[in-house]
Amino acid sequence: MKIFIIGAGFTGTQLARALVLERNNVILIDNDPERVRYASDQLDCTVLEADGNNLESLEEAGIASADALVTLTEDDEINMITCSLVDAVYPRIQKIARVRNYAYYTAADVARRRTKSAMPASRPLYGIDSMLNPEVEAADAISVALEHGAIGSVIELDADFGITTLSIGEGSPLVGLPFSELPKLDGWHYLVAFVESGDGTTSLPNGQTSLAVGDQIGIVSRLSEISQLVAYTKTPQEKLRRVVVFGADRVGSLLLARQQEKLHVARWKRLFGISAPNSYQKVLVVDRDPDLCRETVERFPDVRVLCGDVTDEALLTEEDIFSCDLLVAASGNYELNLVTAAYLKSRGVKKTIALTANSSYGDIARKLGVDVAVPMRGTVVDSILGHLRGRRVESVHSVCNRRFEIVEGYISPKSPVVGKRLQDIIDLGAYLVLLYCPVTGTSYEMPRGSTVLKADAHVVLITPAGDTRLVARFCGKE
């Protein structure tokens, strides 16, 4: 595939690297000479110094024959207008734009839904096939982790199913048990997607795999059953009543908005005693910027806002932050997030969630004792990869420090697996079929060995990262 990337910042270069690894023809464009030089030193792709929003220079670089355009500059408006310009001349090219302004993002979403029902054939807003908002995705990930008690990060696959990463605690019945024996455990009807041992090695499980204390496993289950998984893994669990959110800027405020929505629902449910255990929390926000604090307290009257430095010992003792149940470090300073989370965890905060720069920080976060690390830029690269893997791939989630990918997609009618039973094609240890849904619109189910794969069925796979041939075998190349 020939892919144009406008903007050679951190995300742009990371995406280019991932795409080059998959043997794509990548053209990276930026107008900053310093960045261009750095990127051309690092990457095996064409790097051009030009204005991304100049159609002439794009044409010179050969946009006419491109398959996709990804705009990742710092400016939302430039990203959107560039897509719009290219769309006017080359509507065939798939266009992906990063849009950070939440208002644009939601407006585009509304526009998409309305025009889709009214005029199914119409072009999307500004010709952008998919808008990415990394902040929204990160805030959603934190919100989901928070809802499930911050026992581990949760990847939601649909409204029902998700993959939860849990660490094995003392006294877990899973310890030492080979996986072939797992179904004999009382009530076990889950699937282990991947195993990350304490020494850092990762693997896809087979019948002989067994677990030790300190290992992390990804378990496929219904979202409603996540709390029951803890009975098997014995992950330390806490009731989260007092939550401290560090950082009230983009991700922080989006997270607060999510929590406020939940609180609104929870108020009614609490009245009848049917609310989820972690739906009601006392939230305390800490930020250094007085203007941001003022804005936050005006927007979210239910939360308390402290203006000060989170590293200020006096502030932390004054407000008794060490005795909080959960810290969410969601500021724009990702390194400080990690350090703060690790420090407060060591001082007695029961659970911590940290927003990190990218998924390679996951290991460090785990070693520092941070319970959940939500990568910020990883989600962007994941989403773009998902969009570029072909139209039949819906999304890609990287796990285990980008060593595995969880791929959601539709089985191609031309695929060699169509009509075969799962037990005939499965290659344990190389990949796993996690979930299967024969008819679009219905819920997923856990596949069995006897399940027969049908064309156009929805499927969730876990594969080694970058193994495009395997994905293409299921979902086709287009």
Binding site: R294, V297, P301, L315
Partner: protein, 537 residues
């Protein structure tokens, strides 16, 4: 020559003159022939000046800037109070012009303090006019004028802002004239409903109408010496209680109810505080006053009536609270400081101001405990309203200053301290009755004339929320060289401005730097070079 001010003034006078049609009709209907000229002469003269100015009006209406709006509103209120005194004086029922003006000021400002000891001997048409002044002054004559006279629509917002009460003045519709119409429509409907109910439970039609005027304007004049209690109708007392409370609610809330925006009503901080206050006051005073279970019904009725009467600053009475137990009297005394809601017809400091100060106090206390926490002040569910705090604080300060000054005036005139203080509270808060020598059963007739004039000033200042009148007085008395009304002369536009200083009550011309005057008063004055000779236009 202050043409636009005079034009608006005459229109308002014409309007008030027209409203004399009602008592005139009653006088004709009830055969009170002696009262007919008392209404007819002011009415015709009001129409006369209005028509004269209407015929002279060539220019387009101008937009008022802030200072002119305040000056205009203050001037109009003084003028209509004097105008409203004419029928009272001409009817011959008032011993002096001072007394007639006092009664009129007390009427238009919805105070309800009377100089008469026996109102029952007045012709019913005069009594009705007394009550009608409450009704006209309650929601504001200028609001009525803006609603009815299209000419005033432009720039009318500034005028209405200077007249309505409360710290936060909002428009309901994009055009101020529509807002004014809407509010007056609601006001008239409520009045009509109350008048009908009172008539339905057994009052005479004219009495019912007079008391409805008096209640909705939160005034307090009655057609009987013993006020509403004289009728001996418990149902009527409950109706009055309910409507006094309704009149002390912000009228914009009724508009929101009519347009189905119930959420905004239930979020309204002021309404919640008002209801909580009324409930607590009634419950506490009833508990103190009630001596046995058998009389709880009558005690509750009496307490609820007096509490509603004082908090809405009406001043109707069914019972003399001076005979109550001290703790219950203190409840009434505290309510003298509270007043109704902003944007209602009630006077006083207003519930919203106490709500804002209370919230600020809570924030200050929390700030001591949590020095790093950031606080916001939310009013009606909207956060970030800290800017109101200094405005409200300075208002309460100036209000208290005025009360103290009025107390001093009362004491100079020979009243005892408590009577003078509560009298001042009653005057500035537009309540009516006070404590001690000015209690519910007494009247203001025996006071010295200078004190009456001072009380009139206090009532007007209280009705216009002090600033309007202070600005007017400050400009005319103390800063006499500041031109109050300044506008470009229509005939000569080359930097020649005609300014009107009402302090000296005559016109003067100033030669001005043509570049300096952007209709800004201050700019006018600072660059004004006085021409040697004064010329009258």
């Amino acid at each position: 020559m202050a043409f636009s001010f005079l034009r608006i003034l005459t229109y308002v006078l014409g309007l008030v003159g027209t409203s004399l049609l009602l008592p005139l009709g009653i006088a004709i209907w009830k055969d009170e022939t002696s009262a007919i000229p008392a209404f007819l002469v002011p009415m015709l003269s009001g129409w006369g000046v209005a028509i004269t100015f209407w015929l002279r009006a060539h220019s387009r209406p101008r937009v008022f800037d802030v200072q002119h709006a305040f000056g205009t509103v203050g001037g109009i209120w003084i003028a209509i109070c004097l105008f409203g005194a004419l029928p009272l004086y001409f009817s011959g029922c008032f011993p002096s012009f001072t007394d007639a003006v006092f009664e009129s000021v007390s009427g238009f400002t919805t105070t309800g303090a009377s100089v008469l000891s026996d109102v029952e001997r007045l012709p019913i048409s005069v009594n009705l006019w007394r009550c009608e002044t409450h009704w006209l002054g309650g929601l504001g004559v200028i609001a009525l004028a803006v609603a009815l006279i299209p000419l005033l629509g432009i720039g009318g917002f500034r005028l209405i802002k200077a007249e309505t009460t409360g710290p936060d003045k909002a428009k309901l519709t994009s055009l101020i004239a529509n807002t004014a119409k809407m509010l007056w429509f609601i006001y008239m409907t409520l009045t009509a409903v109350q008048a009908f109910l009172l008539w339905h439970v057994g009052m005479e039609a004219v009495d019912a109408l007079a008391h409805a005027f008096s209640t909705m304007g939160t005034g307090g004049f009655s057609t009987r010496n013993a006020s509403v209690g004289a009728f001996g109708l418990p149902t009527a007392e409950w109706i009055c209680t309910a409507f006094m409370l309704l009149a002390s609610v912000n009228f914009t809330l009724y508009y929101r109810v009519l347009t189905g925006r119930f959420g905004e009503v239930s979020r309204d901080s002021e309404l919640r505080t008002l209801l909580a206050l009324v409930f607590c006051a009634v419950a506490f005073a009833t508990a103190v006053e009630c001596s046995s279970w058998s009389e709880i019904g009558t005690t509750l009725r009496s307490v609820a009536f007096q509490v509603a009467s004082i908090i809405s600053t009406t001043g109707f009475m069914t019972d003399d609270y001076l005979t109550w137990r001290p703790a219950a009297q203190v409840v009434i005394f505290i309510l003298f400081f509270v007043g109704g809601s902003s944007g209602s017809t009630a006077g006083g400091i207003k519930v919203i101001r106490w709500t804002i100060l209370g919230k600020q106090l809570r924030n200050e206390l929390r700030r001591i405990l949590h020095p790093h926490e950031v606080f916001t002040l939310s009013i009606n569910g909207c956060s970030g309203r800290e800017a109101f705090v200094p405005v409200v604080a300075s208002f309460v300060f100036v209000y208290m200053l005025l009360v103290l000054a009025t107390t001093l005036a009362g004491a100079l005139a020979g009243l005892d301290v408590f009577t003078a203080f509560t009298g001042a509270l009653s005057m500035v808060g537009n309540v009516g009755p006070a404590f001690g020598g000015l209690g519910p059963t007494s009247n203001y007739g025996a006071l010295a004339a200078p004190l009456k004039w001072f009380y009139m000033f206090a009532m007007l200042a209280g009705r216009l929320e002090i600033y309007t009148l202070l600005i007017l007085v400050g400009r005319t008395c103390f800063l006499r060289n500041h031109a109050l009304f300044c506008r470009t002369s229509e005939k000569s536009s080359e930097g020649r401005h005609v300014c009107f200083s009402s302090g000296r009550e005559r016109a003067r011309s100033y030669e001005l730097d043509p570049h300096s005057c952007g209709h800004e008063d201050r700019a006018c004055i600072e660059t004004a070079v006085k021409v040697g000779s004064t010329e009258d236009k």
